[in-house]
């Protein structure tokens, strides 16, 4: 009669000699999978940047790979695109700031507040993410007409109107990341500050805020990117001669495509890469990305 232990022992012996290390299949599959993912994610950018160096005949469609590489189209970027780019940077920067000013106190309330209906409040702050942007754009346009009719102050086509729309869609990102860092924040740090004689205000600005700053940077960066890349809302809230960069590109592609659009898009891609590298040097992008899931 064999015991369970003997059976187990036998089953191990039946598998033959111990396995030697062969080809590292796990690693090969891993690298293959990662490479394919990167190619998939980067290919649109590679095509845009590549096609922007096209120096040959002008086609009405993208030419990739480019013939006769040249910088020709980089000299032909129209002034309106530079103006639109300026507006977009200003708008995205200030929308990110506005999102932080609303989002940080909101996150504090959601995490720390002893208030009824916290779940409801937190889902209200998430709502802009769940409404299709195009609906948001139409809603704001309607709202601005109604408010305009009532007060004589029309916000469509103004910076203020655009700004309100962008802060609306950007704020949830700050609320999300700051809520996440606050939930992991050790409140004893604040107690320590208070025990050392700091006022609540001082404890917040000297201890809490600096410690949750990675979350603020991450949320601010998302907010900036959402605002900077937005078309569906901006398209309703801009006006001729007052256009954000993505909307300007959109019109450009729609009406009279020429490769200068690719050139200016490539410039923006380069700029973004530089900005990311700069941020990596300054605050450490690893810390930024970790703050979402740490």
């Amino acid at each position: 009669m064999s015991t369970v232990a003997q059976q187990l022992d036998k089953s191990v012996r039946d598998t033959g000699p111990p396995k030697r290390i062969g080809l590292p299949w796990g690693k090969i599959v891993h690298y293959l999978y990662c490479s394919l993912s990167y190619i998939f994610l980067l290919s649109p950018m590679i095509v845009v940047i590549g096609a922007s160096f096209h120096g040959g005949e002008f086609y009405t469609a993208i030419k990739f790979p480019p013939d006769e590489p040249s910088l020709r189209w980089y000299t032909k970027i129209p002034q309106t695109q530079y103006e639109a780019l300026g507006l977009s940077f200003l708008l995205a920067g200030s929308a990110a700031l506005g999102a932080c000013i609303i989002g940080i106190p909101a996150a504090l309330g959601i995490v720390r507040g002893i208030i009824p209906g916290k779940a409801l409040i937190s889902s209200i702050f998430r709502a802009p993410l769940q409404i299709p942007s195009i609906v948001t754009g139409i809603a704001f346009l309607q709202l601005f007409y109604i408010v305009g009719d009532a007060t004589g102050l029309y916000l469509q086509g103004t910076f203020a109107g655009l700004y309100i729309g962008h802060v609306f869609v950007a704020t949830p990102y700050v609320v999300g990341t700051v809520t996440a860092v606050l939930q992991r924040f050790d409140t004893r740090l604040e107690e320590a500050a208070l025990s050392l004689g700091a006022s609540r205000m001082s404890a917040f600005f000297r201890v809490t805020l600096p410690v949750i700053m990675p979350g603020v940077y991450a949320g601010g960066l998302y907010a900036f990117m959402v605002s900077f890349g937005d078309v569906p809302i901006s398209i309703f809230l801009t006006s001729p001669g007052f256009v954000t960069y993505p909307v300007e590109l959109f019109y450009g592609m729609e009406n009279d495509f020429d490769p200068s659009i690719l050139a200016s898009a490539s410039l923006v891609i380069f700029f973004c890469l530089l900005a990311l590298l700069g941020m990596q040097k300054l605050v450490g992008l690893d810390a930024l990305l970790r703050s979402g899931s740490r």
Partner: protein, 356 residues
């Protein structure tokens, strides 16, 4: 440095009463430890003194000032937390200077004070480093320096050594005691570690279920515990259920495990009372069955097992059937082997009669 007085302090969290009518008078310059298992109310008491929570009833005095209802930032306390709670984004120097800066001290004075404190905690060269760059024991000393930089009226410590390993914890006990005595600062220390409490404190408050079980010096609490809980929580003890059945000269006679033994006279205990007789393991002896006991109490038992811990040996002996007692002694003593019948013996004056 101040006296701290809690009078009639009650703290309820919803329906749960964390503290029942606590009265505590902490003498100026004293090192007082609140000792008890988790949930006994010791941390609640500390946080009430700090002002992080407010009492449901009762008053708290710091020195002559009634601070009941006063926010922590206006109490002039120093607090040391279990996981240090150092500010991770500030250097060690900035951490220590935090309280002084908040109180708008001149930079030169702050610098001098920080240097002085770094010397006190024996880390004179750590000023520019960040908390994450120093060891746990060093972080703990920095947390103490930060708490005392602006001399607090009372220093509060919440299990400050809990996160350290044993060797370091022992070294830090003496280090903290040294700093406390050098600064002559009134200190309230919270721990669940009785060795720590006995090593460091002037007085110990043993707490259980939101009540003070006993307050006294280490020796008093160890040698004269008032309740079974204190006897059991502070050190190890063998408790034998017994009944007082008579008197024998200066002694009372108790019956336990079907054996009559002499026990010290207990003022409040009349005949037939159900009591517990407590004897510390190091005061018990295991003797061969035929050995003479010379006036000691003895009850028969059987060796169940033994453990060897280098400098001492613990023997587990079943008495009165299956009640297990622990005998502790030096390795060279005779203990018998597992399975042997033995006598468990002790001097009558070494037993403690406990009624509750």
């Amino acid at each position: 440095m101040s006296r701290v007085q809690l009078s009639n302090v009650v703290k309820k969290f919803g329906d749960f009463t964390a503290l029942h009518e606590l009265d505590l008078d902490i003498v100026e310059g004293e090192f007082l430890t609140l000792l008890g298992p988790s949930g006994c109310g010791k941390t609640t008491t500390l946080r009430l003194i700090a002002g992080f929570i407010q009492p449901t009833r009762g008053t708290i005095l710091l020195g002559e000032t009634d601070v009941t209802g006063v926010a922590p930032q206006h109490r002039e306390i120093g607090m040391v937390f279990q996981d240090y709670a150092l500010f991770p984004h500030m250097t060690i120097e900035e951490n220590i200077a935090f309280g002084l800066k908040e109180r708008k001290y001149e930079k030169s004075k702050i610098d001098a004070r920080v240097r002085e404190l770094l010397k006190l905690i024996r880390l004179p060269d750590a000023a520019e480093r960040y908390p994450s760059e120093v060891s746990g024991g060093q972080q703990q000393r920095i947390a103490v320096a930060r708490a005392v930089a602006y001399p607090p009226r009372v220093l509060l410590m919440d299990e400050p050594l809990g996160a350290l390993d044993l060797k370091l914890r022992e070294a830090m006990q003496f280090e903290l005691r040294r700093i406390q005595q050098e600064l002559k600062i009134t200190t309230v220390y919270v721990t669940h570690d009785q060795t720590e409490a006995m090593n460091m404190s002037d007085r110990i408050v043993v707490m259980n279920h939101g009540l003070i079980e006993q307050l006294g010096g280490a020796e008093e609490i160890y040698n004269h515990p008032k309740t079974k809980f204190v006897a059991d929580f502070v050190g190890q003890i063998n408790l034998l259920d017994a009944a007082i059945v008579g008197e024998d000269g200066d002694w009372q006679v108790a019956e336990t495990m079907a054996t009559r033994v002499k026990v010290p006279r207990h003022a409040e205990v009349a005949q037939k009372s159900a009591v517990a007789v407590g004897i510390r393991p190091e005061l018990l002896k295991a003797l061969p069955v035929d050995a003479s006991v010379n006036g000691m109490n003895s009850i028969p038992g059987k060796v169940k097992g033994k453990t060897f811990a280098g400098n001492l040996v613990k023997i587990f002996i079943a008495v009165g059937g299956d009640h297990e007692v622990v005998v502790e002694g030096r390795p060279q003593e005779w203990f018998g082997e597992p399975g042997d019948a033995v006598q468990v013996a002790w001097q009558p004056q070494d037993a403690i009669v406990l009624t509750s």
